[in-house]
Symmetry: none
Amino acid sequence: MLKKERQAYILRQVNLHNKVLSSSLSNEINVSEDTIRRDLHELAEDGRIIKVHGGALSHSFHDLYNPLGNIYLHDHKKIIAAKAASLIEDGMYVLTSGGTTILELARMLPPDLKATFVSGSLPAIVEYLQHPNIEVIVIGDKISKNSRITVGGEAIAKIGHIRADLCFLGVDAIHVQHGVSDSDWDVVQLKKAMIESSQKVVCLSIAEKTSTIKPVHVCPVGSIHTLITELPPGDPALQHYTNAGIEVL
Amino acid sequence: MLKKERQAYILRQVNLHNKVLSSSLSNEINVSEDTIRRDLHELAEDGRIIKVHGGALSHSFHDLYNPLGNIYLHDHKKIIAAKAASLIEDGMYVLTSGGTTILELARMLPPDLKATFVSGSLPAIVEYLQHPNIEVIVIGDKISKNSRITVGGEAIAKIGHIRADLCFLGVDAIHVQHGVSDSDWDVVQLKKAMIESSQKVVCLSIAEKTSTIKPVHVCPVGSIHTLITELPPGDPALQHYTNAGIEVL
DNA sequence: AATATTGTTGCATAAACTGGCAAAAAGTGG
DNA sequence: CCACTTTTTGCCAGTTTATGCAACAATATT
């Protein structure tokens, strides 16, 4: 059995049963547990499953139990969110994707800000709702369980009918040459539509992702106007972006 | 059983029943009480539950020094939710409104149920998302802040395009002569659309609301098929409804 | 206060993980 | 086809994690 074949099988099992045990997989496929472990490790690195002691869990299973993620990058994200929040002005229409950085932004919005936020990300919407002066518009469609965001033709069509002043994208990967990319096909379609519908596109990313690439391409860097990381604007690591004509904050 | 899996189970139990006993968990899952204690300890460290002598409590329970009245009604709602849950079958399309009774229903859905839920109620959607086998479709539109439900022409139009097998309405007021009524204009428009789009309409209401009237009319009792309260079906208080041809559960 | 239940601590064991190594298989480039 | 690299896989030794057990401390209950 080929490696890819085996991993595809594992992935199917995980999505089907929400969990797998290394030991049982080893029996089913007749390879050593070491190999299974390596497979699970790789799948987990790509974010396809959640590795745990003794096996692995599906995202949908794990998420419901672990809504608050790690905190080690939390500080970075707060810095990013604060910078992003400063771009929003009263009366604006703001389109946002999902992701933990966006969540942080939602929590950090000044209480007196009066703006309209449009999103399909459930966690983000829930945060926006806490805010006293923000209007929230929900993009409807079927929810993708692992990203907790509405995806599909309906959602894309709806976004197409919007003219937003500002669009915040929490990006999975960005690269000066290759542009913005992501690992979830459906989410990428949404992001593309959001970029189309916005006057100004702002990407939020932690610095360590600013030279990475993921499988699905979203847009070239030329399509975005502003990049926000936790680093100060002048940091040499971000020089390429400034050179490419991107505003770096 | 994996450790995380077990902890997820415990967490679910806590949120469902507001409390758990180490001893009963130990029996249910067949692990030693030591292990349960360790799990509870970890969950408590992450702030997900409140550890107490002999077991654990949910946050919501412990946080607010709940007025006793609420707990009393809470039990009623659980009874109602359980009855409602029994009506749902695999593969069904289910349309739901918002409200605390609906929330209770969402929490009580059996884990192996495979159905599609359509709703515009944010709290309800969040609950549905916790469920491993349920597909969730969001009705998009602007959110009404106090009811936390999407309302407006978009939402109504969208519901119009759906053919649901079942519709659960958490009702504010119902009366044999005057029918179902509510106090929020926007929400009423939605409920009307939901009733139109469903094969079968089920109203969930605590018994004390079954002879009340609110300002905005939703539909006559003839438009609903089933009424669920916390009382047993034969209760004299519900006799009018049975006489009016409504199925009472 | 007496008794029963629950917690705590330390320890033992088995299962799972880690990193390194080596052999087999597959791919590369003349 | 032959050397050579890379990938894949299994195995091993040492480490970590998960879990149950037992003895004792702390806390409820009557």
